[in-house]
Symmetry: C2
Subunit: 174 residues, 2 copies
DNA sequence: ACCGTATACTTCACTAGTAAAATAGTTCTG
DNA sequence: CAGAACTATTTTACTAGTGAAGTATACGGT
């Protein structure tokens, strides 16, 4: 049995509902930022969750796929720390992901002759093949999420998001 | 030593760089959806990470705080399953979070007399107080992320995001 | 009333990610 | 050129989240 919390409100989306509930119980708080930020975090989480499901046929996790993608779009082998800087995960995670990807034969660790502490990572041929087949599909799924938005609308959206991204990235320092 | 992967490109943001690298190595893939979806997932992850840090003084994790918020904006006690439906986490997680929140005296479990399987959850007075002080601060941080965008721009943005959210939510079914 | 099926929550065993310690290599300074 | 200070990666010990099994309760058909 599905328990209905309220009467059906057909045109209300998840974020509208959250804001309405806050308005009803906490009318003194101006929750307007949720209109944008709530939708961004909701869309982000759902999109990543769907990507997880799409990837599980490929045999690598989303985090591992991200590592492969970073390497695939680089024109040279990268240091482990360069991969870490891009993925938003810890260095310890990078080590684990590379362990597994190396066991699968998708990446290789190379020594860096100028500095013995450094590990250089590069894709093997089958790593490259995996990205070449999975990445275009990933972009296609992203394109589906934008269905119904024309090019101009996407450009406006990207421009506004770029400004928010700049605010958010600057908040990371310190 | 910080290793510079490329010459500095001052006006390029994270997403621009990703797209440029794909364009250089995989020119046959049209990566335009990344312009929007890449920024959404990046902003989402960073905003959540910053929220985590802001919350650690409060003694509850972000996931636990989400549970408190769901209860705080409801006008009645909720079933565990209703909380689960909103948080995007598993039922097992809800049990764990409620265990800890109950140990902290922030929520209480009540029996539901019409159905013995159900657990009703409601905030204690100190749970309510925690939300009343933390939630407005959370909204303020979200507002900072929107700094520099005027009301019209936010409205346009929210409208476009609403359409993407609808696409993404419909992809969840099945 | 009884039994099979369904449901709501919890427990268990496992995986992913992390911070901090450990390891190994480099650089700086006298 | 020793050794102190620093840096890059790995290991370790831990926490958060999960799917699946377990438990208790409800319901539907006979």
């Amino acid at each position: 049995m599905v328990f209905m919390s309220t009467a059906p409100r057909p045109d209300e989306d998840f974020t509208d509902r959250v804001r309405r509930e806050w308005a009803e119980t906490h009318p003194e708080v101006d929750t307007s930022p949720i209109e944008v930020m709530g939708r961004i975090t909701r869309i982000g989480s759902q999109a990543l969750q769907q990507l997880d499901r799409a990837l599980d046929a490929s045999g690598v996790s989303r985090a591992e796929f991200d590592v492969l993608c970073v390497l695939a779009r680089s024109d040279r082998p990268l240091r482990a720390s360069e991969v870490t800087a891009v993925t938003m995960l810890s260095g310890a995670s990078t080590t684990k992901h590379v362990d597994r990807l190396a066991r699968l034969g998708l990446v290789e660790r190379l020594p860096f002759e100028r500095d013995g502490r450094v590990v250089l990572l590069h894709l093997t041929e089958s790593g490259r093949q995996l990205v070449d087949t999975e990445f275009p599909q990933r972009v296609e799924r992203d394109r589906q999420f934008l269905a119904g938005l024309d090019e101009d609308e996407c450009a406006v959206l990207a421009g506004l998001l770029r400004r928010i991204a700049a605010n958010v990235e600057s908040g990371l320092r310190r």
